[in-house]
């Protein structure tokens, strides 16, 4: 098992280097580079531009710039925002709580909904309820999330006035303690509903499929033949094995704890990482864009690794088979 994990780790490092090079190349392709906006400028002057280029290493060949950048990143030097001058990591850390609140709440809620729903659909295969869940799943997957959000805000916020439509809390209310907590929950209802609906829709088929696979296995027939009660067969022998692929699928959703949802954060004006990213795109804040992209890629690769390792831990046949 240890060697399995080590081998997986060893493939992740070159993978990350490749991805970071891809991202670096992409940002280099920007016409004129990061200083394009200030060029031909009034007071800056050619000499000042040259000093800036040297300071940021923009006069070096691209591959040297990449190595230089990589070296700095590995030392924790992620640069400063062109826009605010704040260190990139600090800026991201400021935005993370909002994203975590939204994404963690939604993912936990999704798990609580999707597990019973998927299992129920598998047990009642081809019943009206099963078809209804499938129809719901494909509708949710085809749903443009910004449309859903816009319509939910229109109905529940504009028309009915039940929920606030933007932000994490109302700065004017001056609430604190429990009142503030309730206010925050109130603000999160609509965005969490959108996030959860779409997540449930995309995951329910995996749960159903995993359960169906397990229900066909010989060991379930054996359990029944031994006289184990049906509910115990399903809940103990069935569910435990069905959960293995489900754990994998959920692990692959983990990057969303960092990435959140660009669309939901934008439309509900939540000050999260996704929103930071969009704001940085419009002002071409390259250090921030680069930082967010790199952290995001590291998290994606790490989640893939974690999913593989969890799978191997839960189902030892995988590690043996991969040898």
């Amino acid at each position: 098992m240890a060697s399995f994990i080590l081998r997986r780790l060893a493939t992740s490092v070159p993978l990350l280097l490749l991805i970071s090079a891809l991202i670096f190349a992409l940002l280099q392709a920007a016409p004129g580079g990061p200083l394009a906006g200030s060029e031909g400028g009034n007071s800056a002057g050619e000499a000042a531009m040259q000093r800036l280029r040297e300071a940021w290493g923009l006069d070096l060949p691209v591959w040297q710039q990449y190595l230089r950048w990589l070296w700095l990143v590995l030392q924790g030097e992620w640069g400063q925002s062109f826009n605010s001058g704040q260190p990139v990591l600090e800026l991201v850390a400021q935005r993370l709580p909002a994203t975590l609140q939204l994404a963690a709440t939604s993912l936990v809620l999704s798990a609580l909904i999707v597990l019973p729903l998927g299992i129920w659909a598998a047990l009642r295969r081809r019943s009206a309820g099963d078809y209804a869940i499938s129809a719901l799943a494909v509708s949710g997957m085809s749903m443009p999330i910004f449309w859903l959000a816009l319509m939910l805000i229109y109905v529940f916020s504009v028309r009915l006035g039940w929920f606030p439509s933007t932000g994490l809390s109302d700065p004017r209310s001056g609430a604190s303690g429990w009142a503030l907590a309730i206010e925050r929950v109130h603000h999160l209802v609509l965005p969490v509903a959108c996030f959860t609906l779409v997540t449930v829709a995309s995951l329910v088929r995996y749960v159903r499929g995993a359960m169906l696979d397990v229900l066909e296995q010989d060991y379930l027939r054996t359990a029944r033949a031994k006289g184990v009660s049906e509910s115990r067969v399903v809940a103990w022998h069935g569910l435990r094995n069905a959960l293995i692929p489900v754990v994998t699928v959920f692990t692959l959703e983990l990057p969303r704890l960092f990435l959140g949802s660009v669309v939901i954060e934008t439309i509900f004006a939540l000050p999260g990482v996704g929103r930071l990213f969009i704001d940085s795109v419009s002002v071409r804040d390259y250090p921030v864009l680069m930082g967010v992209l790199v952290i995001a890629s590291v998290i994606v690769v790490a989640s893939n690794l974690l999913a593989d390792v969890l799978y191997a831990l839960l189902d030892p046949r995988v590690a043996v088979g991969a040898r």
Binding site: R8, T11, P14, L15, L18, I19, L22, I23, L26, L27, A29, A30, P31, R126, D130, Y131, A135, V138, S139, M141, S142, M143, P144, F146, W147, L150, M151, I153, Y154, S157, V158, R159, S165, R205, Y206, G209, A210, P245, T248, V249, L252, P255, V262, V263, I267, F277, I278, V281, S282, R284, V292, L293, A296, S297, V300, V301, N304, A307, D308, Y311
Partner: protein
């Protein structure tokens, strides 16, 4: 190793097929998939309406009529009018052209990359396969929407930047699928027979392997259109995709935010979004019916 996510199970569970894996059996299975067929019909209607609609409509998509501003849906204007008095139905149909064409172009490009890489990796095997599959892994680990946003913002908004970037972010599953099919096909006797008869590598891949892998290719192409349409409209909704005067459904929704939320003109947002939703829904259902028709074993 990356993307350990198992292949997505199909949308609708069809009765067990007792049909042959022939063209006729395929057609039988497709017909039994009633939801999928209706989705195909509705999709055809949407496409034809977008292509022909602007000519059939009595209104000009860009004609401004200040007397008809902000009207809710009525018999004369089925989807209402916007703040300049333009007919929304006509605008939705015109906007659909760019959305659909972007989806189609993206899919074709993604297929070109995916099928080439998959076929090369599967056929060549060895280190070529290893390198190509690591590249697939790398692309799978890239946060797609973020990269799309940065790429379009830095390279400039144009039809081809959007289509090419989207394709570059969505070819990987096709490559894996094709590689898998080629791997299992190339071990079969008819390939050996072709080689003995003197067929070159190109001929074997093009005439013997790819035609037999057509099923998965067509299915992933169909589902690729759905992904592309959704991604393009997300980008345009964020204001980072197509810019006026180009209209797509996503762009229309972007412009509808203020009218819907501040003035309560729900029709401005409802209909363009409905168009995206219905189109993507139909493509997904239809793709699913196709998958079932090509591969009766899937569940």
């Amino acid at each position: 190793m990356s993307d350990t996510r198992p292949p997505a199970p199909p949308v609708v569970d069809t009765p067990d097929a007792k049909t042959e894996a022939t063209a006729e059996g395929m057609w039988q299975r497709l017909r039994r998939h009633r939801a999928g067929l209706w989705a195909g019909v509705l999709l055809a209607v949407i496409v034809v309406a977008c292509l022909a609609g602007p000519w059939l409509s009595p209104y000009d998509a860009n004609r401004i009529d200040v007397l008809l501003r902000d009207r809710p849906p009525s018999a004369a204007h089925w989807m209402g009018t916007d703040e300049l008095g333009r007919d929304q139905l006509t605008r939705v149909l015109v906007g659909g052209r760019l959305s659909l064409i972007t989806g189609l172009a993206t899919m074709l490009l993604a297929m070109l990359i995916g099928v080439s890489v998959g076929a090369l990796a599967g056929y060549a095997g060895g280190w070529v396969d290893g390198v190509l599959m690591r590249i697939v892994d790398a692309f799978f680990s890239v946060p797609g929407l973020f990269v799309l946003i940065v790429a379009v913002a830095t390279l400039g908004v144009s039809f081809w930047t959007i289509a090419i970037t989207l394709a570059l972010l969505n070819w990987m599953s096709t490559a894996r699928l094709v590689r898998g099919s080629i791997l299992s096909l190339k071990a079969q006797d008819f390939v050996e027979a072709a080689r003995v008869l003197g067929a070159g590598h190109g001929r074997i891949v093009w005439h013997h392997l790819l035609p037999n892998a057509l099923g998965p290719i067509v299915v992933s192409a169909t589902l690729g259109i759905a992904t592309a349409i959704l991604a393009e409209s997300t980008l345009s909704f964020l204001g980072l995709g197509f810019q006026p005067p180009d209209a797509t459904w996503g762009r229309m929704l972007q412009e509808a935010q203020v009218p819907v939320l501040q003035d309560g003109h729900w029709w401005r947002g409802f209909f363009p979004g409905l168009a995206i939703f219905l189109t993507v829904l139909c493509v997904n259902f239809f793709g699913d019916a196709l998958r079932d028709a090509f591969d009766p074993r899937s569940r």
